[in-house]
Symmetry: C2
Subunit: 454 residues, 2 copies
Amino acid sequence: MKTKKFLLQEKDIPTAWYNIVADMKNKPLPMLNPQTKQPVKAEDLYPLFSKAVSEQEMNTTDTWIEIPEEVRDLYKVWRPTPLVRAYGLEKALDTPAHIYFKNESVSPIGSHKLNSAIAQAYYCKKEGITNITTETGAGQWGAALSYAAKAFGLELAVYMVKVSYLQKPYRRSIMQTFGAQVIASPSMSTKAGRKILTEHPNYQGSLGTAISEAVELAMSTPNCRYTLGSVLNHVMLHQTVIGLEAEKQMEMAGEYPDVVIGCFGGGSNFSGITFPFLRHKLVDGKDIRVIAAEPSSCPKLTRGEFQYDFGDEAGYTPLIPMYTLGHNFAPANIHAGGLRYHGAGSIVSQLRKDGLMDAVDIPQLETFKAATLFAQTEGIIPAPESSHAIATAIREAEEAKKEGKPRTILFNLSGHGLIDMAAYDLYIGGDLQNYEVTDEEVKKNLSELEQIIK
Amino acid sequence: MKTKKFLLQEKDIPTAWYNIVADMKNKPLPMLNPQTKQPVKAEDLYPLFSKAVSEQEMNTTDTWIEIPEEVRDLYKVWRPTPLVRAYGLEKALDTPAHIYFKNESVSPIGSHKLNSAIAQAYYCKKEGITNITTETGAGQWGAALSYAAKAFGLELAVYMVKVSYLQKPYRRSIMQTFGAQVIASPSMSTKAGRKILTEHPNYQGSLGTAISEAVELAMSTPNCRYTLGSVLNHVMLHQTVIGLEAEKQMEMAGEYPDVVIGCFGGGSNFSGITFPFLRHKLVDGKDIRVIAAEPSSCPKLTRGEFQYDFGDEAGYTPLIPMYTLGHNFAPANIHAGGLRYHGAGSIVSQLRKDGLMDAVDIPQLETFKAATLFAQTEGIIPAPESSHAIATAIREAEEAKKEGKPRTILFNLSGHGLIDMAAYDLYIGGDLQNYEVTDEEVKKNLSELEQIIK
């Protein structure tokens, strides 16, 4: 576990986020109002989000968007995060590849989610909003927002996907310790929740359903806004601090990545680590591969379709152009709760459509095998989500070995797994399994979707 | 949660540990062979520990002991750790005091225990030892040693106190993920375990019993040594990197602490943060207070007696001069599992006897109240153990407020509480309680002890 860390100073924390949309030749398609099928404007989002992030969501022209001083001040609690050369892992794989990872697990809540949580809470506070709502899958986003809400003195209600609420009770306790209200979703507290519980009393929840509930609560509570930890453009924007720091750190290491990898749920950490590198592909024509690592049980980028879909289960959100499995897709109960989302955000979907990035899908057991090897060689127990990126990095390193050629691999360690030990426990005991979606399921879901969207 | 961190560079990691014994006017009394009542010599310890740490244990002359390069290399994985000015906590307390904490929770296993685990594993490896054993309470030490054993390729067996094994199953999974064998103690795998289980079938375990089992296994396994995470002089020595860094960082902050606080189980993190500051009291006569914060349920420094006692339950260890509640003391099942030990190490006991340090005892509910306030104001969920130090720092800050005078307070945040959320869960639900030892219990236990030691 001998290590080489590349460390930046506080002054190196980026002063602006990178807005990749400004550099894209083909802009993402607009979000549509589901009734009128007209493009959504920033002001249409004001009832739902803070004005500042509504504007950011629609910004297609400014390449750099300034990070407010108050947000940078809070970033200083844990940023800049280390870039690490994974010598231990390289040695175990006996590979000529050089493997680097950006360690976002060092944040106080253990993941990258805080990068956007702080920004969103800040803007709400600044605009005089007193209450916020959100949904959370594995609980990483909910924990981050609980921290950020407390930091800015906002009241927070979190709808947590029921399967994660049960699998990860301690993420719930973390949110409660920070002072948030946590509700298992589907719940009886919203119309959307009551409807689905009436139809499917044992439904274990999905991010899509939890989003519906959080949106409904925000729309029906005075001075309240909704916040989201992934999928939307402004979240991708906030997360680019990861890649911007990593760029400088790779320079310190005297290398440039051949391939950059992020695990993929809705796209937040993936975009964070990859967009600043993709910039050089878009702007300077740099030859670099970018890979999204998604679970085999929820493979929207590898096996979904590019089309308009709702961001939530009940159909409260605008229509979003996405690679999707259908908003009514109910993913298997894998332990990477943060990757159980039916669609990809509109920026990533456009990049994927234009062939500017790749995607792979990884079975659950391969991710835990990778996670355990990483723990034993690098000393950090990774989150199940992040382990999809590790597994993909290992595949790349093994290919390099087969080819007998060097390869520089960078992946994002989006979070640690200390709250996910129940999943490791099952893996150690041999009680975890793979889940793969059948083609029939995907086809059935997507044809249902076509009926709904028409 | 606005923060001010004082950060050092890798080059500032200390190159030598501080051996306080060399500076003590009254040296700690020697350990005694329980049969002969003669002082134990370093070579008497060789069958139990690596030679290097056996020598360190007995070293009363060298003020500075060099840290091997291989150990410093592994320290670089997470050291130097930040010193933080707790502005958020100060504001919430509305106190004129300045509160600083050294953040040892940033280590890959989440606590300070790695400082000594790496050193002990390194020396074993260097001396050709292949197998090691240990005990663990809350699991912080076991997790640290699992990491260190894997880093140096040693096989490890950990006896985990049964109450913690049950309360904190995920610390067990962490150790297993790092490749260690974990056994709930008391177990049927040793004579010591079988004896106590026969007498008390439902005994929930104690560090004393787990030590007996780990020692017995080490003594009966070829090429195997025992390691300990607290109490002994060499462990205190290794932990002084904490205070040595903190000294430099307080200088960066332009302040000197009036009071330095560490929570107290066997003394490892307490000694780590305080000894380098105590040096100036011993050597330069500097006016500084040092406080050990122990739980009301296990108050050896505040209510125990100074006398020779065994370090373990079965009486396998040498007799150690300690403030003790008796080695057969069975502490209540508080959630600060790392503080459930019957005695204080010999250095600390001597310092206490000579009036060079203070001790306070804190009830369980006060620690969780302090922990929650700390989480909500500083953004880090602290370990139940560390929360004793936080509670003591809060008492000091409140006194400063009463006096209307400034006071500079430094405490050690020995670890985070992310694996201890079950305890927070109980606290949130109102299901935690205080445990206080009665005078009768203490007296009874100590009089039994007198019979045994005679």
